[in-house]
Symmetry: C2
Subunit: 321 residues, 2 copies
Amino acid sequence: MGEFDVIRHFFQRPPRRKDVVTGSGDDCALLRVPADALLAVSTDTLVSGIHFFADMDPVRLGHKALAVNLSDLAAMGAEPRWVSLALTLPQIDEAWLAGFAQGFLELADFFHVDLIGGDMTRGPLSITVSIKGVVPEQGAMHRNGAKPGDAIWVTGELGGAALALQHQFGQVMLPSEALPSLLERLEQPTPRVVAGMALRGVASSGLDLSDGLASDLGHILRASGVGAQIELDRLPLPQALLAQPDALRWQLALAGGDDYELCFTVPEAQRGVLATALANAGVNISEIGRIVAGAPQIEWLYRGEPVSLVLNGWDHFKEST
Amino acid sequence: MGEFDVIRHFFQRPPRRKDVVTGSGDDCALLRVPADALLAVSTDTLVSGIHFFADMDPVRLGHKALAVNLSDLAAMGAEPRWVSLALTLPQIDEAWLAGFAQGFLELADFFHVDLIGGDMTRGPLSITVSIKGVVPEQGAMHRNGAKPGDAIWVTGELGGAALALQHQFGQVMLPSEALPSLLERLEQPTPRVVAGMALRGVASSGLDLSDGLASDLGHILRASGVGAQIELDRLPLPQALLAQPDALRWQLALAGGDDYELCFTVPEAQRGVLATALANAGVNISEIGRIVAGAPQIEWLYRGEPVSLVLNGWDHFKEST
């Protein structure tokens, strides 16, 4: 097989979506966007040695590369439809490519997303995924809509992926029965696409948690011009994280990153419809605090009392939209 | 300046286009696509050491990264509107970033394209650009529409960029007066966006030349199920390339790559409108051959007689859509 054929073999398939007028195999993909919706676009790069270990299972890596990108669409309540994949590889490794394609395309199929093109180049291993979806203009969930009095919610659990990473670094020792589900949180996160779409018209603001609640909630606070109180004892944490010492627990839960859960705010008037809206989203939600008037800062509360936390930042100059 | 601030400083600007509902600074960009057009999407990656020299002038690199991507839209006759930029950098170098942003944004502004987001990560230098534009469904220029009897045309000149690269490699010595324009062909190609849009409804097929005419025309021939005759003595070549020995001249003109000119086919019925359609496209066009019935192969002619050429391929497993 020539190199072009290898790539075609693993990634090129006839379009499945009827709104793909021209798929891969021409200079561009041509797509039909519904007239009553906005196009939502987000791009993420994962670099070997920075965002994942070079020897990470390619099936899981393929899943994760798409999942973190889908999470950005979920954060705005958009419905994913099409994705471009730019893959830079040091060499053609057919087994690796087969695994990566499997993980990537299985998740794409699950959400009815068509791979509509991209680029393959030789170079140090890195993956850039650009997802495209649609969202009704009035339904999109922005960062700037939070108001004092709104409740703050998150989907799923926080800190599990960061705890698994600490285990991989040899910094903590986890019980073997806890490890598989935490590793899955790290390597195969479930993007909250269905929850995001269900929150259209319910949440006043929202985003996805990639760097950790402390940093990411700050984006909502600054964009909305409000402050927040977070009740640490209401954070949804995996059992194995609850078992860790205080400092490590809060560090991983609030600044560990890689959660890919949604954080969103809900006005009191919408509280009643929230549970119904998310009944079929396939994920639990937890109320963890409230928006308050004031400077864009987070006040941490424990059993109702303010506490001060020292959290170490995490910045590989990632700035993603 | 913190790292986030650096990035914002160089790349983040308020949206200029009215169809950018939400620009960078949220989880996704939200864009308004006209109801009567298709969305055209293309993605390209440039890797340091593969597609460009690591010490390439950043202004020119910023220009080229966007230009090669715009060229894919031009190849389908699409109008560019929005672009995402994923930049992976070994370190924050403010002078380099300022130069890159300048080259990238000046070209974007020239074509009224808004930078609507992307990603910045640490890692080996590479650049992934994903351009988005619009094209009327009936006007898009595909690869599969060529018919026997159609004339084959190209914009601009062929082989100039490849000749400049040979000079940089020390393989040829060019006269100093020829060098600037050839280097500009290599490092600051002009994407044929206006020509591509003008060819809507005129060309029966088309694409842009990135790997060289011999390879790229093959895509049209296979997609259309036809053959071609190319008259070597009608190829538009820069003076400095005409001065090279035969074998090198044809190698660079036909398989050198990096031309970013359009190659397109025109039915006889459209011949009369071609000159008028392209009058304001800012580039000359040359008729170089014709489509013939038969297997998807190119017959090379010189002064009307068939000649055989041996061309060396160029494949860094690039497969781009």
